[in-house]
């Protein structure tokens, strides 16, 4: 599932916040309805349902499963049948914070590709942009249709207390995982239909419709007619997220296109249909910037459309997300997000960042070097955990070796404390047992506003004590509930 970090660690000895139970074992209000339902069930139900769930998910999840069955491109990601529950009140506060952050991200992107006021104001060091390949000169001076840069955003959150949600990472390029959010809910409703009559949970299933509406609201100037044509651009059936691309296209009633289906003609980007070339108004692309246009970026790319950037600048198509949004979720930029939010919204950030030391700053570097054993150190431009250090689980020798790398290139690293991530129960053979989780809400942006689907994707570390929620490393997913008032 994309560039999910999920690599935060906690020291197991730290007491952590359990989202279901208070330290004395009392069930928290969020889970009261669920617990009451569970208690009313015959003993062993969850166990039986757990087994059923597995069979059910294998069957319905066949679409996940078989898409990868040939070459293992996409695996079945383990699903846990205990919901992760957020109260209406908690969600209201979270939504405000997410909305503020996403608003700031878009304003920030607009500024970076125009006058860079934030740099002129001395609030963001120019050097962060200067050598940064995620900043695309081709976007300079251009405003995307509707002024929207990030049509779809995923904000990765972790929780450390009742009201303490922190942003771990922003995903402003092409966040994935929304199909799991939708399938998880379908699975839960099929397994425990009566539960949903007892506990009122806010709907997520209309996400594809909202996505379609949100994208349609960003039609380019060249669009004429009454309904913009939306297409999903996929790298093809061998891409690991192909299932999600097909799923979303299907649910939106949009065409699922590949680069070879498209060309520039009649001043537009058009798709080759059995009736002729049909102009596309909005393209939801799941292809990286570099592969988008061989005439502009990587000339060897066969996944994109030659000339699409020309049509884009001429107002003939909307590309979602806009090229060059990656600069906003750069790890080096991340540490400035509190300043960025404040600069563009004029308010202090509602959602804090995970505290971050920028090793490029001498004081911070000194602190990080002194406390390596307690910190997580990440590469600024890296993704996927290469070249990172997890202090608490590293040997003295590993720490010493890493300190040398850090001293050699301090500006390549940031460091974060190990946090005590919250836990949520999962179903195990021995009954319910707490496991660490994160949350990725999905946010849609259009000129009509910011639309946050209640809940999102909860990733859970299935191994006891583990903090690694990545699906590639033993992570699973859960249905995420936001309670109705």
């Amino acid at each position: 599932m994309g560039s999910g970090s999920g690599e935060l660690m906690t020291t197991p000895s730290l007491p952590c916040f359990d989202e279901m139970r208070e330290p004395d074992g009392t069930v928290r209000p969020a889970y009261a309805g669920y617990r009451a339902w569970l208690d009313a069930q015959a003993p062993g139900l969850l166990k039986r349902k757990g087994l059923e769930a597995e069979a059910f998910f294998r069957r319905t999840g066949i679409t996940f499963n078989v898409y990868g069955a040939t070459d293992g491109e996409e695996r079945l990601i383990p699903f846990d049948p205990v919901p992760r529950i957020i109260t209406a009140g908690q969600w209201r506060k979270l939504s405000r914070g997410i909305e503020q952050r996403v608003r700031a991200l878009n304003a920030f992107l607009h500024d970076l590709y125009h006058r860079q006021e934030i740099v002129r104001a001395g609030r963001l060091p120019e050097r962060l942009l200067q050598g940064n390949l995620a900043w695309l000169p081709q976007m300079a001076g251009f405003t995307p249709p509707g002024g929207v840069y990030t049509h779809i955003v995923g904000i990765d959150l972790v929780r450390t207390g009742e009201d303490e949600f922190l942003v771990l990472e922003d995903n402003a390029r092409t966040p994935s995982g929304v199909s799991y959010m939708l399938e998880n809910r379908e699975t839960m409703m099929a397994m425990f239909p009566e539960l949903f009559t007892r506990v009122r949970v806010r709907e997520v299933s209309d996400y594809p419709r909202r996505l379609a509406r949100s994208l349609a609201a960003c039609a380019p100037p060249a669009f004429t007619g009454d309904k913009p044509v939306v297409a999903v651009l996929t790298p093809g059936i061998y891409n690991s997220a192909y299932f999600e691309h097909a799923f979303l296209a299907d649910q939106m009633g949009a065409e699922l296109v590949e680069g070879s289906d498209l060309k520039v003609t009649g001043g537009r980007v058009a798709m080759r249909t059995t009736r002729g070339w049909q102009p596309v108004d909005v393209i939801y692309r799941r292809v990286d910037d570099d592969y988008l246009d061989p005439l502009t970026f990587n000339p060897d790319s066969a996944l994109g459309v030659a000339g699409i950037m020309d049509v884009y600048r001429a107002g003939g198509i909307t590309i979602a997300n806009a090229p060059g949004t990656g600069i906003a979720d750069d790890k080096a930029i991340y540490s400035f997000m509190p300043e960025i939010v404040e600069f563009y919204t004029g308010e202090p950030p509602i959602l804090p960042n995970v505290p971050t030391w920028r090793c490029s700053e001498p004081d911070a570097l000194a602190y990080v070097l002194d406390n390596l054993a307690e910190l997580v150190v990440k590469e600024v431009h890296g993704s996927g955990g290469y070249g990172m250090l997890i202090g608490p689980t590293s040997s003295r020798k590993e720490i010493a070796a890493f300190a040398a790398k850090l001293r050699a290139r301090p500006d390549n690293y940031i460091a974060q404390p190990t946090l005590s991530l919250s836990t949520v129960p999962i179903f195990t053979r021995a009954g319910l047992a707490p496991r660490h989780v994160d949350l990725r809400p999905f946010v849609l942006v259009s000129p009509n506003g910011i639309d946050i689907t209640p809940g999102g994707l909860t990733r859970v570390a299935l191994k006891k004590g583990s903090l690694v929620v990545n699906s590639s490393q033993g992570g699973g997913t859960k249905d995420s509930w936001v309670l109705d008032d």
Partner: protein, 285 residues
């Protein structure tokens, strides 16, 4: 001093086999600006259809044209009249949304190597104190290091390669100059355009030179090939970090095999260009 220059620039591609598909990005339209005013200008096509026109991130006027499938030759003709003024090389303040540091970034054609490093040896202090004088002396150094000699390089030759070979054309000299200026932390860029040459109304190709940025003065042109700062004989058409960004024509073309395999026809590119002083005040056709 001011001049009215009449320009007629035609590019013809002839292909051995018919065109399967092709897209060409054209930067062939000069804009009125600091030292020039466009009186009349037109770009016409034969064998190609205009798709879109827009202003790119450098402020260049760009047209994207699709080649007509099945055609075996394409002609693109840009022509018109531009009034120019001698501004002693000054090309105006920095404008647009590209930050100055963008012009300090390397590109494939201007990547700095040991040759560039050697070329700027001893200039660092001077560059910090008097960048204008440094750029002037750099013009001399590049001229000495890269002799003007056509036929040894092409449009894809990087600066470092031309420098090692010690010869090249105006484009190579401009690239070496740009790479060297950037090595001295002076923003620099490439200009593609036209040049009036006495006694050579008909030319083989457009011209290219460099611009460096000096705080307080703005962008200043340096034509290494002719050892001058551009004057009223120069028409600026497009700018970029290197030739590739500013090139008159870039694109992708694929052709089908020729119908008659035995006919030894090869793909051919013909450029005709005339730059002359306009006969009178009427726009040239």
């Amino acid at each position: 001093m001011s001049l009215r220059l009449a320009i007629d620039h035609a590019t013809t591609y002839q292909f051995a086999g018919p065109i399967r598909r092709g897209l060409q990005r054209l930067r062939l339209t000069p804009l009125s600006g600091h030292a020039q005013r466009v009186i009349a200008w037109d770009v016409a096509f034969d064998g190609a259809t205009p798709e879109v026109a827009y202003t790119d991130e450098y402020g260049n006027q760009v047209a994207l044209v699709a080649l007509e499938p099945g055609a075996s030759s394409v002609t693109i003709r840009a022509h018109g009249v531009v009034e120019t003024r001698d501004e002693a090389g000054l090309a105006g303040r920095h404008s647009g949304y590209l930050p100055l540091w963008h012009y300090l970034r390397d590109t494939r054609l201007t990547t700095r190597g040991s040759g560039i490093a050697a070329l700027v040896t001893g200039l660092a202090d001077a560059a910090a104190q008097d960048p204008l004088a440094t750029l002037h002396s750099l013009t001399g150094r590049v001229r000495t290091a890269v002799a003007y000699a056509p036929g040894h390089t092409n449009s894809a030759t990087p600066a470092e390669t031309a420098l090692t070979a010690g010869r090249g054309v105006c484009q190579d000299q401009a690239h070496v100059f740009i790479a060297a200026a950037r090595a001295l932390n002076i923003p620099a860029r490439y200009v593609s355009g036209y040049l009036l040459i006495d006694g050579r109304e008909d030319q083989d190709a457009g011209h290219g030179w460099a611009e460096g940025y000096v705080e307080g003065l703005g962008w200043i042109g340096f034509d290494v090939a002719n050892a001058v700062c551009p004057n009223d004989r120069y028409v600026r058409v497009a700018i970029g970090r290197d030739y590739h960004d500013a090139a008159p024509i870039t694109g992708l073309i694929s052709t089908l095999p020729p119908a008659d395999e035995t006919a030894a026809v090869q793909d051919r590119l013909t450029i005709t260009l005339s730059v002359r002083v306009a006969a009178d005040d009427s726009p040239a056709g």
